[in-house]
Subunit: 340 residues, 2 copies
DNA sequence: CTGTTAGCGCTTTCAG
DNA sequence: CTGAAAGCGCTAACAG
């Protein structure tokens, strides 16, 4: 087989091939491909046709080798099984797409050490930025990040010390606010329910603030329980059943997210438990599916999509990218529903 | 500023820098970095230390330029707002991660022409494979794909002509099966509800087979309606309300997915409509959140995660990758719940 | 507006 | 087991 045969079962057509077909130089093809520099319309058209004819696709790797900006951004999320993060991802993706940047991504499944490994792996593709979740990172990781010099954006939280930029909201404020709300509605004996997200330090921040405020206001935490497996409606339903069986005097349950809370609500509906009279329920996130329920859940509306958008902007916009680090607090709103 | 300063705000440390620090040649560093070829443990350690010290991260772009396999796979999905696809994505991601391949991805939002554009864009990073949704692609697109020679895997469907490999199940079989089931349960007047996924040709295949089988069995389609916006519980609830108001004699509603069906179920629960006596409900996918509902929904269980796993395997495994194209039908199971 | 030259950082091939 | 040379496909810089 001649050595010119395709390597690696891949088409190896290059700009030089296109140039030959179009009767121009390789450099002209390069200019056409990336739409940069002056090329006459006539020649541009000829080059485009030649490329289409032989099936040439611009090779972005080659240019990126030279160290010029690579239109790839690393994105690390804890999971894809939670709408919260897929909405963030949508925000990131839509925003990056507009400027021709692609996300390359990794999922940690809430394992702390996975993040560092994934980040180092992502960096091998020289992304122009790295979007990761949360502000808590080991010193070693931080120093690696700084050595490589990638621009980073940490999302979902603003309570802490970001490596450089961060976009999110204060979980401490969320926990405080919800405790105040429950107290105002007269609820005192409250259980807190989290799931695997309990590994999530942001949920812990909400919890700490919540318990503190609750205690200060004369309430108390009846139980802090973690469900098996990831957050889900079935898990919320089960835990609600268990809590009610166990505690005679329970005023309210604060769930670490809406899926769990919705499961709790379904349990109450099915069992004829009067909400909020017999039991109050509160969630977190303000997910859209709640609108289908017969009762509006009290929850905290989080700006998920917007977090993705802002994070992507921070990385996509060179003007911002070379300025001082910034922390963007998008805030949250407590939505008073009918369940508290 | 000296010209050696970092270009583009990026660290420009190279293998040569590591080599100097470790007192070896650049080639040796290369061997250590990709764990290929013989290097003594002593030297390997020295190189690793040097790399860590100066913060060097292996640059995979550079090697990939030469046309050798690039550990990137393009993934194109219709949306991230549907659990079905995030579960597929999880399967893809987990499988690829094991062999050190990263997904680079794009979302079409169900726009047909977006797919081709995104695919061409993804190809610019010379992925070793392309995973896309559905079997319907324009001839132009097919020929471009063939010219570039990327290995493709089309997922979610097997009813049609794949470009090369495909992994999924038969939507025609699903529609037929559900019609048979409803007929067997005595339901005749059936409404069909789809959402934006109506743009999705797979839903259309289910619908066609469903209607055909229904008619053959003496049933009939009362109405075929499309909800506004993407599938969701609220949309399903609303459409159920509307359908019931409009049609006096409606035996059952077949929803194009579980979210819509769950919304319908919630409506019936809230309004005291007896299911399946007054109205039967059926969904599609068998999503986990259904377990939280007081009534088990009749639906078709689809192998979403597994589709992702198999698709990724087809691309990750070179042995498979260089063999003949294959169509993998993972099948589906109709789950008889309490709603029909 | 178009072409020429000189690398980018790495991997392959071929020597030792 | 380690090293030197050649070149991957492309782009910045500079000519014309």
């Amino acid at each position: 087989m001649p050595k010119s045969a395709q390597k690696d079962s891949k088409n190896q057509t290059t700009m030089t091939d296109v140039a030959r077909h179009a009767g121009v130089s390789q450099m002209t093809v390069s200019r056409v491909m990336r739409g940069h520099g002056y090329v006459s319309d006539d020649i541009r058209q000829r080059v485009m046709n030649a490329a289409n004819t032989i099936g040439y696709v611009h090779n972005r790797l080659a240019g990126a080798v030279s160290g010029y900006d690579n239109a790839l951004v690393g994105v690390i999320l804890p999971t894809l099984q939670n709408r919260v993060f897929t909405e963030v991802m949508s925000g990131i993706n839509e925003t990056l797409e507009k400027v021709g940047i692609r996300p390359v991504f990794g999922v940690t499944e809430y394992l702390a050490d996975a993040e560092e490994k994934i980040a180092m792996d992502l960096l091998k593709w020289r992304p122009s930025g790295l979007i990761m979740t949360g502000l808590e990172h080991s010193d070693h990781f931080r120093s690696m990040i700084e050595k490589t010099g990638v621009r980073t954006v940490e999302i979902m939280d603003v309570d802490g010390e970001p490596v450089s930029d961060c976009v999110g909201f204060s979980h401490t404020a969320v926990g405080t606010q919800m405790a105040q709300h429950l107290l105002a509605r007269g609820h005192r004996a409250v259980a807190y329910v989290a799931s695997l997200d309990g590994r999530d330090l942001r949920a812990a921040k909400r919890f700490d603030a919540f318990v503190k405020t609750l205690a200060e206001g004369g309430g108390h935490l009846v139980e802090h329980c973690l469900t098996e497996g990831p957050s889900s409606m079935p898990a919320g339903q089960q835990v609600t059943r268990d809590l009610l069986a166990k505690h005679r005097h329970l005023d309210a349950i604060y769930f670490s997210n809406d899926d769990l809370a919705a499961g709790g609500m379904l349990h109450c509906l099915a069992e004829g438990i009067s909400v909020p009279h017999d039991l109050a329920l509160a969630g977190f996130n303000g997910l859209g599916f709640l609108d289908a329920f017969p009762m509006r859940l009290t929850t905290t509306q989080t700006p998920r999509f917007q977090i993705g958008v802002e994070a992507a902007k921070l990385i996509a916009n060179p003007a911002i990218a070379h300025s001082e680090p910034r922390a963007v607090d998008l805030g949250c709103v407590l939505v008073e529903g009918e369940t508290t």
